[in-house]
Amino acid sequence: MSRSWTGRLRRVVVRDLPPEKLLPDEQPAWVSSWAYVFGALTIGALLVVILSGMALAFEGPTWWHTSSAGLFVNSLHLWSVELFFFFMVLHLWAQFFMASWRGGRSFTWMVGAIAFVASIGTAFTGYLSQQNFDSQWIGTQAKDGLNAAGIGAFFNVLDFGQMLLWHVMLLPLALAVLVGLHLLLVRKHGVVEPLPARTGGRIDASADVGAVGRTEPTEAP
């Protein structure tokens, strides 16, 4: 057996993420709920964010501020971000009330939480990169808070070039890595089962809705 790092990495990947886990075509019965759809909707919105952002990066500020197509893609970028946060917060609520860190999924939860914070930073630097009065207002308001927090010396919100590069390079890269890791961890551990139903202060594991133990497979949505 090879002791090289590539060999060790291959064995870990094959052990933790076999093809049937990585690309499953069946899910447990409890996944047949709209509450489990918000994560996929978040990923869908993120893809639109990335694609519209790439179009904006290709064409530049004059295009997105003046031409009809540029204004449309600019709006598409903004509203897909709004939907991204909308669905991400709903995903967070659903997973929080389901205590989704159960069953060895604490690292998955933490990576998701860090991705949420990285998303806020990415959106914030996006607002600062608009090159309009909104971005000037947000920048001048934010600098006091960030200076008070002691990070204004190396994260200068009034430096447009720095904010633009954080927005189009550093933070999207970090976010892509975090979201990718989050997805792989979800595939590795599987989707968390619902909490057992409580009846009269006692846990009733045989209750119908979301009961642990209903494991008949269903087709993935």
């Binding site: 019965a29 047949s32 709920s33 909308f86 709903l90 659903a94 269903t218």
Partner: protein
């Protein structure tokens, strides 16, 4: 046409209306979005999922 109609319903360029509720201050637009999220969340918990009744 549709963007024009939507723009007539909600003018996003005007100064936002801010709701004051004790120590809480929030723009009406953000409050509406949060309320909409709560509604969508509750509907997602209660609405039947397609195909679930077949099992």
């Amino acid at each position: 046409m549709i963007p024009g109609l939507l723009g007539a319903v909600v003018d996003l360029n005007r100064t936002p209306y801010i709701v004051h509720w004790g120590w809480l201050q929030i723009t009406l637009g953000n409050l509406v979005v949060i309320a909409l999220m709560v509604v969508v969340f509750v509907v997602a918990l209660l609405a039947p999922f397609p195909g679930r009744s077949r099992r």
